[in-house]
């Protein structure tokens, strides 16, 4: 066996695998676009309702994606509102205050939380709701609020981790300047450390938003339904894009419904990929800004 033979084999193998994987991804995206591009129009979202009427809730959209898109947006907003303060505070604690002894067990717990299958988190949300419904408040059902809370738990570890790491990896020169000028620890955190690590934290948050937008297992257990319209309050059931896709995939009744499924896939894919690209852009832009600050 000649050495070049290995080299060549190694080369072919790497090229082959890369082409295979990229090919698979292109097939998936291409398949969706080839089948779904025709359905991408306003009719897909608003059906026969006039768009402005729908947005101002003058009339409801029944067969369009509008309620699902709205549901997903509400869901993301709510869960992020819950997850950000909790995640930031925890991240700050871990990076700045936590004694090294308990830091290990804390991060282990957050790693575990990040690893729990989302359906288990969904089941947890569902059971807690049933429990509360039974013993405390009979008007509580699986609803938008419950889904949002469960999703918040799901994305919490991402926010915690990115916050903690962004803070911990700040250079000492940044970290020590303010205290040496007499700033308190708290002032240092809020006026220096957090702003300096903003890019990392922000991209973590945006990635969490993407996770909220795509997760299906949690919401199908905690309040997403086939038909709900625009949710009236956080205590009502809702529609969501990923759940809509799942629902259509198993029970479309005719071709036009299936086309809507393809359309919904493309919209969701677009939303998730844009959030991802946006997160990276922010990371890049902000870190440059900080580096080149006069």
């Amino acid at each position: 066996m000649k050495p070049e033979f290995f080299d060549r084999l190694f080369n072919y193998f790497s090229w082959g695998c890369s082409i295979l994987l990229v090919g698979a991804v292109l097939t998936i995206v291409g398949f969706l676009i080839a089948n779904g591009y025709q359905s991408l129009n306003l009719h897909l979202i608003f059906d026969d309702t006039r768009p402005l009427d729908a947005i101002f809730l003058k009339s409801q959209v029944f067969d369009g994606l509008f309620p699902a898109i709205a549901g997903t947006l509400f869901l993301i907003t709510l869960s992020i509102i819950v997850a950000i303060p909790l995640g930031l505070a925890t991240g700050i604690f871990l990076a700045e205050y936590c004694p090294p002894k308990i830091k290990g067990s804390f991060s282990l717990l957050f790693d575990i939380l990040a690893g729990i299958p989302s359906i288990v988190v969904g089941l947890f949300g569902f059971c807690v709701t049933i429990f509360l419904h039974h013993y405390f408040y009979t008007r509580l059902f699986p609803c938008l609020l419950i889904s949002a809370l469960s999703l918040a738990f799901l994305v919490l570890p991402y926010i915690i981790r990115t916050t903690q790491i962004s803070l911990e990896t700040l250079p000492l020169s940044v970290r020590l300047t303010a205290p040496s000028l007499g700033a308190t620890k708290l002032q240092n955190i809020f006026y220096v450390l957090l702003p300096s690590s903003l890019s990392g934290i922000l991209s973590g948050i945006i990635l969490s938003i993407g996770r909220c937008a795509e997760d299906t297992a949690v919401i199908m257990l905690t309040g997403a339904v086939a038909t709900a319209g625009i949710p009236k309050s956080v205590f009502s059931s809702f529609e969501a894009l990923p759940f809509y896709i799942y629902y259509i995939s198993s029970q479309y009744s005719d071709n036009s419904e299936l086309m809507k499924g393809y359309g919904a896939c493309l919209i969701l894919l677009f939303i998730c990929i844009s959030l991802f690209v946006f997160a990276h852009w922010i990371k890049k832009r902000l870190s440059q800004k900080i580096l080149y600050r006069p």
Binding site: L21, I116, E214, C265
Partner: protein, 287 residues
């Protein structure tokens, strides 16, 4: 000023306790809800027995086997491909193309699983059915193929990260001694990076096991012990999704708590293992 410091410090501390508490509370709650079953001492029967509610049998055996088969097979498909891709990115990097491949793979982490499932139903399942001429196409193989695409970014990014930790000096030394790429890989890269690679493999396995939608949509969900890769099978996660839609105070319903405890413990175990194998890991990639 001191008061303010203390207040904020306790707020931060409380938040951490709350976040950490949730993790433990989820497990605790599931155990409490599964207690009626655990108390009957049927734990091991349930983990291994067959599922036939009409005959009073509520074993999770087929689902556990199904879960492990699908996840393992996804791993078997994904591992060589990921290895090849990470060679491409980390070692070969022809004409700077590696950077672009890495970008594509990173953005793959943003693709929703429900989309993999959707494409699975309408593209892969008919393909598998026509190709193998056996079964409905909704089978372990179809689910494993889709899952392998889902988990490969996790694996590749871990592989690439661990390759990048190999000291450049050692690599240069191999080049200077006239070693070829394969030697470089087996004698320098692998000894330095196998721990990181193992972490990637463990975490990908956890991700494959924990995914619900792909298995629910394309693995067929039958409750028989699978006999071949073209057989329909049900995973624990799909089992939870199917049963919860149905019922909530029967024995069937209580078995889903057992399923979630099993999933919880398996994934936690994986994470603890990966911590031991690779302490320097800094970022959590997609779960």
């Amino acid at each position: 000023m001191d008061v303010k410091e203390t207040i904020f410090k306790s707020v931060f501390f409380a938040a951490s306790i709350l976040s950490a508490g949730i993790t433990l509370f989820i497990l605790g709650f599931m155990i409490v809800l599964a207690l009626p079953i655990l108390k009957q001492g049927l734990f091991f029967d349930m983990l291994t027995g067959p599922w036939a509610p009409d005959h009073g049998l509520f074993g999770l055996g087929p689902m556990i086997i199904g879960t492990i088969c699908i996840a393992l097979m996804a791993l078997v498909i994904s591992f060589p491909v990921s290895l090849g891709c990470s060679f491409f990115i980390g070692i070969l990097n022809p004409r700077g193309l590696g950077k672009w491949l890495k970008k594509i793979i990173e953005s793959m982490t943003a693709v929703p699983t429900v989309i993999y499932g959707f494409v699975g139903i309408f593209f892969l399942v008919p393909l598998v059915r026509e190709l193998f001429l056996k079964g409905s196409g909704m089978c372990i193989l179809s689910a494993a193929i889709m899952l392998s695409i889902l988990i490969s970014p996790t694996m590749i990014l871990f592989f690439v990260q661990s390759f990048s930790m190999v000291p450049q000096n050692d690599l240069n030394a191999v080049d200077a001694l006239g070693g070829n790429t394969a030697q470089k890989f087996f004698y320098v890269v692998l000894p330095h990076s196998w721990k990181g690679m193992l972490t990637g493999i463990i975490l990908s396995f956890g991700r494959a096991m924990g995914d619900t939608l792909i298995a629910l949509m394309i693995s067929g969900n039958s409750v028989a012990f699978p006999g071949s890769v073209l057989d329909s099978a049900r995973t624990l996660t799909a089992h939870i999704a199917l049963i919860i839609a149905a019922d909530f105070d029967s024995i069937e319903f209580k078995t889903i708590f057992l399923s979630s405890i099993f999933l919880y413990i398996m994934t936690s175990f994986g994470i603890i293992m990966s911590r031991f194998s690779f302490k320097k890991r800094k970022t959590i990639n997609e779960t």
